[in-house]
């Protein structure tokens, strides 16, 4: 494992509904090393997605600190966070969130438009990302011309095209059948093992969780179990 990539200290997150305080995360402490594949599990409403949003700089903690790499997120302005996300984090969503009017290549190219980069270099990067996810022959297809699994692969390509160090995946297989889910999880494994990406995966699915190296169980806003996935389980999952 490498240096500490993510460090949460006493993170608390509270939402308010009709002036009523709803605590979501209660004094969380967490350390994730660079290159780790961490799976976040827990029942609905346990705070998994909220935690992911805090680490991804999409939301800010009510109190406590969130450090990702060198960035102390709670001290950054919204503008700084927006710029930071574009450079350091790749997001994968359950519903893919592809732009329906753009082709696969154009969807993947979107994050690159935020960088000073020539069109040729962007094209090259898109090709590489499509190659990694195994969709080189679907470059000019629109999302409605792709299967669910292919759409998620395009979303993964979009997440890695800027070569971020951290990938945050929120239920990426939640909308896929078992076989396609397995392929997507395999792909995440490849990104972790071959490309050294730190991955935080939110899932309900124990089979998906088996692909990680470490499982964090969250309930009612607090971790109640933090365990390493036995290498054998991971190896089996990887070999499926």
């Amino acid at each position: 494992m490498g240096a500490v990539e993510i460090e949460l200290k006493d993170v608390r997150k509270v939402y308010y509904k009709d002036r009523i305080e709803i605590p979501v995360l209660e004094g969380l402490n967490l350390t994730v090393s660079a290159g780790e594949f961490v799976v976040l599990m827990g029942p609905s409403g346990s705070g998994k997605s909220t935690l992911l949003h805090l680490i991804g700089g999409l939301d800010s903690p009510t109190s406590g600190s969130v450090r990702v790499g060198d960035a102390q997120l709670e001290r950054m302005t919204e503008r700084e966070l927006t710029s930071w996300r574009s450079r350091h984090v790749g997001f994968i969503f359950q519903m893919y969130h592809l732009v329906p009017v753009l082709t696969a290549a154009q969807n993947i190219e979107l994050p690159l438009l935020l960088f000073r980069m020539s069109a040729a270099e962007r094209r090259q990067r898109v090709k590489t990302a499509l190659g990694v996810v195994g969709l080189s022959d679907r470059m000019d297809h629109r999302p409605n011309q792709l299967s669910g699994g292919q759409e998620q692969r395009v979303a993964i390509a979009r997440a890695i095209v800027t070569d971020p160090r951290l990938i945050l995946a929120d239920e990426p297989t939640g909308d896929l059948d078992a076989k396609t889910s397995e392929e997507i999880l395999e792909l995440l494994n490849v990104l972790n093992t071959e490309f050294g990406k730190t991955i935080l995966l939110v899932t309900h699915d124990p089979r998906a969780a088996a692909h990680g190296q470490r499982q964090l169980h969250l309930d009612k806003g607090a971790f109640y179990r933090d365990e390493a996935v036995p290498p054998r389980t991971a190896a089996v999952a990887a070999s499926r």
């Binding site: 710029s83 450079r87 969503f93 519903m95 753009l102 154009q106």
Partner: protein, 394 residues
């Protein structure tokens, strides 16, 4: 770098019906606006030919227009006392033109003669061609002893029965047959909407013993105000005004028409703003998760805002181009000639509406501004989408 143009362009066609309706509303606004600009410019061009400050129009005191003015010959002769009237270099005659004006009614060409309009029939002498310098006969001029008239080209285009060889029933009781023997131009000025004949012949035909008006040309350097004071003074006791002043008064009803059209365009612009805003609101509402995704991967609020404004500008340009093409087609199919009723002459001023590139650019530019205004609030809403909430939407 902002979002790709293709992203915004293609998004316009996701909701085809809404987009089409909005484009049609914008097209209607631009079409009317372009027409109004063309109309105003053409009218202005026409009246600009009648802004000669060295030409005075003399009427009977108290008269407001040539049609209600009667100038006895002896009072007209008093004008010869004026020192500041220019003189013909060859004959040394004062450039003073006695004129008679009556209205004649002719069927309009544009509706196949269903409606009729009044035209000014002006009786003139040779002096008129020296005083009204812009008037240029393009063929034969009426003969002094014959019942002949020449027709202004704008009148000939707009009214039927005014072509060379046509016969007009003129005179008191319409019992005199006058033949059209030629046309004349007047640099697209108001005179082009008139019919001219020989003054003594027409006075005889209409049993007139008095002129309607007199036009005179001032010497170089003469002060029109002083000459007007003399004409309106105790010695002559007539009323006078420069040609510019006269046409400013006569075009008052046209200006009212223009003002009403401007109000109509303003109301239509408001409707377009609401239509654009409505379309953009529905676009934003339908793409909340997409906006949240774009914000998540690093697009700033400003980029989202400018993106939606750009989509609205595309809508405006589409509608604007359609409106311009529609306006040009309308003028081509329905004819670009227009006649406006003078407020007190009771005659028409005929002119052609020409859309210039400036008119079209101005109309398009204005509708782009309308597009930006209409899109602003929806675009602001888009830029302020709550990312975390939107990402969780089913």
């Amino acid at each position: 770098m902002a979002l790709p143009i293709s992203y915004h362009w293609r998004n316009l066609f996701v909701r085809k019906t809404t987009t089409l309706l909005t484009v049609l509303v914008i097209a209607a606004v631009v079409g009317v606006f372009a027409w109004m600009l063309g109309f105003a410019a053409s009218l202005d061009r026409s009246l600009s030919q009648a802004r000669d400050e060295t030409k005075l129009l003399v009427l009977k005191r108290g008269a407001t227009a040539e049609t209600n003015s009667a100038l006895p010959v002896d009072e007209y002769n008093n004008l010869n006392q004026l020192d500041d009237i220019a003189r013909d270099p060859t004959t040394n005659e004062p450039l003073l033109s006695p004129e008679m004006m009556v209205q004649i009614s002719r069927p309009r060409v544009r509706d196949g003669g269903k409606t009729w309009g009044n035209i000014a029939l002006r009786g003139v002498t040779e002096a008129a061609f020296k005083v009204h310098r812009t008037v240029q006969p393009t063929g034969r001029v009426f003969s002094a002893g014959a019942q002949e008239v020449i027709v202004g080209v704008a009148a000939a285009q707009q009214f039927s029965g005014l072509n060379i060889g046509d016969t007009l029933e003129l005179g008191y009781g319409n019992n005199r047959h006058y033949t059209v023997v030629g046309y004349f131009t007047a640099d697209k000025g108001p005179a082009e909407s008139e019919v001219w004949g020989y003054l003594p012949s027409l006075m005889n035909a209409y049993n007139r013993t008095m002129y309607s008006s007199a036009s005179l040309r001032l010497k170089g350097g003469a002060d029109p105000k002083k000459v007007i004071e003399l004409i309106e003074g105790p010695k002559i006791q007539l009323s006078a005004q420069t040609e510019a002043q006269y046409w400013q008064t006569q075009s008052a009803s046209i200006n009212t028409y223009l003002r009403i059209t401007k109000v109509l365009v303003a109301v239509m612009c408001l409707a377009a703003i609401f239509s654009i805003a409505n379309t953009m609101f529905s676009m934003v509402a339908g793409r909340t998760r997409e906006i949240a995704m774009l914000r998540t991967i690093g697009f700033s609020r400003g980029q989202i805002l400018s993106g939606f404004v750009l989509e609205s500008v595309f809508l405006s340009i589409l509608g604007g181009l359609l409106g311009c093409v529609g306006c040009i087609a309308w003028l081509y199919v329905m004819g670009n000639t227009k006649d406006m009723f003078g407020s007190s002459t009771f005659t028409t001023l005929a002119f052609e509406i020409h859309l210039t590139p400036t008119n079209l650019t101005c109309a398009l530019g204005s509708v782009i501004v309308v597009g930006v205004i209409g899109a602003w609030i929806p675009a602001m809403r888009a830029s302020r989408v709550a990312v975390v909430t939107a990402l969780r939407e089913p």
